[in-house]
Amino acid sequence: MKQSTTTDAQLVSAYIKGNESALCELISRHKQRIYSFIYSKVYDRDVTEDIFQDTFIKVIKTLRKGGYNEEGKFLPWVMRISHNLVIDYFRKNNRMPKFENNTDFNIFSVLSDNSLNAEKKIIKGQVENDIKRLIEELPDDQKEVLVMRIYKEMSFKDISEQTGVSINTALGRMRYALINLRKVIDKHNIVLTN
């Protein structure tokens, strides 16, 4: 293979002056080293490809904007950029870890689907119906406060404004509503668990 005698510095300066083929030469001269370097850190061909591309996009932008200081260190400079991008990749990945299943370890053996199965869904529906029926038995003032608080998720301030009683009265009614519900549940031995 014919080894080009042009130095990196000459190619960089030619590229800055508008010679596109100089960039082609720079990339083909260093692609293998930079690519292997990135791959040795991330061990994923697709990610390596992305980081390699981002590295050179940065290189191109910096050169075109005149932000590169020629000190005869083109390759170390590009390696530093790719190194920083690898760090960025791992930082981002730490926040959003990606798991891939392999034969030794299956992520689904650790993670499970927490949604209820058919039987538990039915039981949940029954329990909710029972509670609704018990609430219906409460005195109207207590029922009103409990429904607003639990089902409509209103604050006690809003409840007191809507019902025209003080916050303390609303709190008291809520308390008695819960005490009464517990009493009925205890008295009739109602099981309200899933």
Binding site: S36, Y39, T48, I60
Partner: protein, 50 residues
């Protein structure tokens, strides 16, 4: 024939002859051709002209 159950180390798995895909390099060269930096006073604007 006996099987080898040991794995080669991670560093050995990196093939020194790995190179990026042709498309990646083509993309970079096209990107470079399309990128235009516009100087205005002390500001620099990037524009991608296809």
């Amino acid at each position: 024939m006996q099987k080898l159950y040991s794995e080669i180390s991670r560093s050995e798995r990196v093939n020194k002859n790995m190179v990026p895909k042709e498309e990646t390099i083509k993309f970079l060269l096209d990107y470079s051709k399309a990128l235009s930096v516009i100087n205005y006073n002390k500001l620099k604007f990037e524009a991608l002209l296809n």
